[in-house]
């Protein structure tokens, strides 16, 4: 349907899906023009969660930024830290130690599993409701996610906003007993992943709700700069971990799952395959972490301990939602001159005006859930 041919003032009902709505995964508003229950036009209005992170980065020294960007994509803080610190390291061409690289890879994959579990739970909530089977999926996913947070708690001392990476390496080395806990946890999650499939994929209702719904074709995805699982579900085989390896990914065996349908079900399949793949990587890595230092630079003892060389750098990592990039311009002081964060969710959200028209409200909710936007990083 062509939104332009409809008169917004005509016989259409305008429905504000959000900013406070159970399915918006944060604070997000989509303005829907509805004909009956069928959407004619949809306009997303992000920005309710804007905290001025990029401006804040200009006011804080390099070492103080890491705990701030933790809160951008608030379900995968480790990967945020990785992205921003990689940019700062690229700025001064700092080579991180091999052990730090391995720990970063390990942490990123552990975090990816946690992030995908949260997505799966909320996706269930979107389809099954807070008072139904969706809540069961949600609770089961969170049950396992808590175990992941326990691992991080043991490693970094914090369950969520770790501040465990710093410019040049890591702040925390893994403690004793960590490998055993991770092995147990991720083996268990690997078994439980089959239960999620049994609850969802084997269920005709789930398939009816997701197959053929919210189809993103590859061309549209490329035009909008969508990345990550959404892109891979549309048939484009692109994964920064494999194609632009960072940290220790060039030493890790990695299969990139790709689906070609582009609908919600394909996105589900890609994410579940990634979840299993990440579990496998974690279990592979946990025993093979090389010995050595964890930080290439001298540990931070002063706020202005790290000064960026004049210049600019871009570094991107493959987050759970796609390419999470940081572009930093430095003017030689201890603070970045400009710090631009490229959040994958922002590009995912920009799909909504293309996906929503022609669908009814139920499908829009499912589509939104399958895009997995995290509004913290959309609005920054």
């Amino acid at each position: 349907m062509d939104p332009e041919n409809y008169d917004p003032e005509g016989d259409l009902m305008i429905l504000n899906l959000g900013p406070q709505h159970p399915s918006t995964h944060g604070v997000f508003r989509v303005k829907l023009w509805l004909d009956g229950e069928v959407c004619i036009k949809a306009v997303p209005y992000p920005g309710y969660l804007h905290r001025g992170v990029e401006k804040l980065c200009e006011k804080l020294s390099y070492v103080m930024i890491t705990p701030i960007v933790d809160k951008n994509d608030y379900v995968s803080p480790f990967i945020n830290e990785l992205a921003i610190n990689m940019a700062f390291e690229a700025l001064n061409a700092v080579e991180t130690p091999r052990r730090a690289n391995y720990l970063r890879t390990l942490g990123a994959e552990m975090q990816r599993v946690g992030s995908h579990l949260l997505w799966l739970g909320t996706f269930g909530l979107d389809m099954g409701g807070a008072l139904g089977g969706g809540a069961s999926v949600f609770m089961h996913c969170f049950r396992e996610r808590e175990l992941i947070l326990d691992c991080f708690e043991l490693w970094t001392g914090s369950r969520f906003h770790y501040n465990t990476l710093t410019v040049g390496g890591n702040r925390h080395d893994v403690p004793a007993g960590f490998a055993e806990l991770v092995r147990q946890t991720y083996t268990l999650i690997g078994q439980r992943a089959d239960e999620y499939d049994a609850m969802l994929v084997d269920n005709a209702i789930f398939r009816a709700r997701t197959k053929g719904v919210g189809t993103v074709d590859a061309k549209l995805a490329m035009e909008l700069g969508v990345s990550g699982p959404i892109l891979r579900a549309s048939g484009i085989d692109w994964d920064l971990r494999r194609d632009r390896p960072y940290a220790a990914y060039n030493e890790v065996k990695l299969d990139v799952p790709v689906r070609y349908e582009g609908d919600c079900f394909a996105r589900y399949e890609v994410r579940m395959a990634e979840l299993r793949e990440s579990i496998r990587i974690v279990l592979d890595l946990i025993d093979g972490i090389p010995e050595g230092p964890i930080c290439a630079l001298k540990p931070v003892k002063l706020p202005g301990a790290y000064k960026g060389k004049v210049g600019q750098a871009y570094a991107a990592v493959e987050g759970p939602r796609g390419e999470l990039g940081t572009w930093v311009i430095a003017d030689g002081t201890d603070k970045p001159y400009r710090c631009k964060i490229r959040p994958p969710s922002y590009h995912a959200v920009s799909l909504i005006p293309y996906l929503a028209p022609g669908n009814n409200v139920s499908d829009i909710v499912v589509t939104l859930g399958s895009l997995d936007p995290i509004l913290g990083e959309v609005d920054r």
Binding site: M13, L15, H21, P22, S23, E37, G124, L125, D126, M127, G128, G129, A130, L131, G132, G133, G134, A135, S136, M139, H140, R143, M199, L200, N203, I205, F206, A208, R209, N360, V361, S362, D363, V365
Partner: protein, 326 residues
């Protein structure tokens, strides 16, 4: 005592008082049961704080709801808005009047009892739609319209599947239907085929009528915030909520009566068998509710018309053939 038994008005009043209060209390504690049950499915304890194992949680909920400010939205249709919750409650409770609880225990022994229950409970769409329309809220309106749109599609298989025990039992009186299933010849088991399929269809359609997942499309809290109940607060919300539970309870009672032999069972017949069977059905409904996802409105209607209606028609035909030739 004899005064009460001889005067039909007094008898009706006393029986009604007892049944209504018993059902209200049951419904209140069924919420506790559901929360515990759902908690167990999700590996969490459920309510624990109020009373032993949270048993007083319904009382606490009730006190909270009563204390809340009674808000009617601006520009809402005040009369309809206020009428909808009690009307829904009344319609659900009215169906209980003709239930045969045990041999001889029937508050009002109508000879068209089943017809009465089915017609009264299909009226439940009206207060739901009323609530959606009168709230002056777009989400509530969408919910009410969904309820109105899907009402026909689940009522048809509901009635057709209820036709099977009518044909097999040869009566519209619930007591006669139960009596026809005496000695373990429950319609869900005997004759094999139409009764059991009709039983499944009846329970599924009842899920839709009681707004339960997978068919809780008018409420659909992840899509429509809270659907028809979006604007309701306090005790009016409480009434709608309680009416849904009561409706689920009535549906399980009806399912147990029509297909599982009512008060019949091994050993002495009586109300305990009915309660046991309907409790099993009730728990089954909650098991389904806390496991499955929700259908989309159009998918649900397609399912009703393309699957449920033909299958229930086939059940009716087979049952009729059985009735005539066997």
């Amino acid at each position: 005592m004899s005064v009460i038994l001889e005067n039909p008005w007094l008898l009706g009043a006393v029986a009604g008082f007892v049944v209504i209060n018993a059902m209200m209390v049951t419904a209140a504690w069924s919420i506790w049961f559901e929360r515990k049950f759902a908690g167990a499915m999700q590996n969490r304890p459920g309510p624990t704080q109020v009373g032993w194992a949270g048993l007083l949680q319904p009382v606490a909920d009730l006190l909270k709801l009563i204390q809340k400010e009674d808000i009617v939205p601006t520009n809402a249709d005040r009369a309809l808005f206020n009428l909808a919750p009690p009307l829904g409650m009344i319609l659900v409770l009215a169906g209980l009047a003709v239930f045969p609880w045990a041999p001889g225990w029937v508050p009002a022994d109508l000879d068209i009892g089943l017809l009465f229950i089915l017609s009264i409970s299909s009226l439940i769409t009206i207060p739901v739609w009323m609530a959606g329309w009168a709230s002056n809220n777009k989400y509530a309106l969408l919910g009410g319209m969904r309820a109105a749109a899907q009402a026909v599609s689940f009522e048809v298989p509901l009635l057709l599947s209820a036709l099977v025990p009518i044909i097999l039992g040869g009566s519209l009186r619930l007591g006669d239907i139960v009596a026809a299933q005496a000695d373990g010849r429950w319609f869900a088991l005997w004759p094999p085929g139409p009764g059991s399929v009709a039983f499944v269809l009846f329970m599924l359609a009842s899920l839709a009528e009681a707004n339960r997942i997978p068919f809780d499309i008018p409420e659909a809290e992840s899509e429509l915030v809270a659907g028809i109940t979006t604007e309701y607060v306090g005790m009016k919300f409480g009434l709608i909520y309680l009416a849904e539970y009561l409706h689920t309870a009535v549906s399980s009672l009806l399912g147990a009566t029509l297909f599982l032999g009512g008060w019949d069972g091994p050993g002495p017949d009586g109300i305990h068998w009915l309660l046991l069977k309907s409790f099993a059905l009730f728990a089954g409904i909650f098991w389904v509710r806390w496991t499955l996802l929700r259908y989309r409105a159009d998918q649900f209607m397609a399912l009703c018309w393309r699957v449920f209606v033909p299958v229930s028609l086939a059940c009716v035909a087979v049952a009729a053939v059985w009735r005539v030739y066997a």
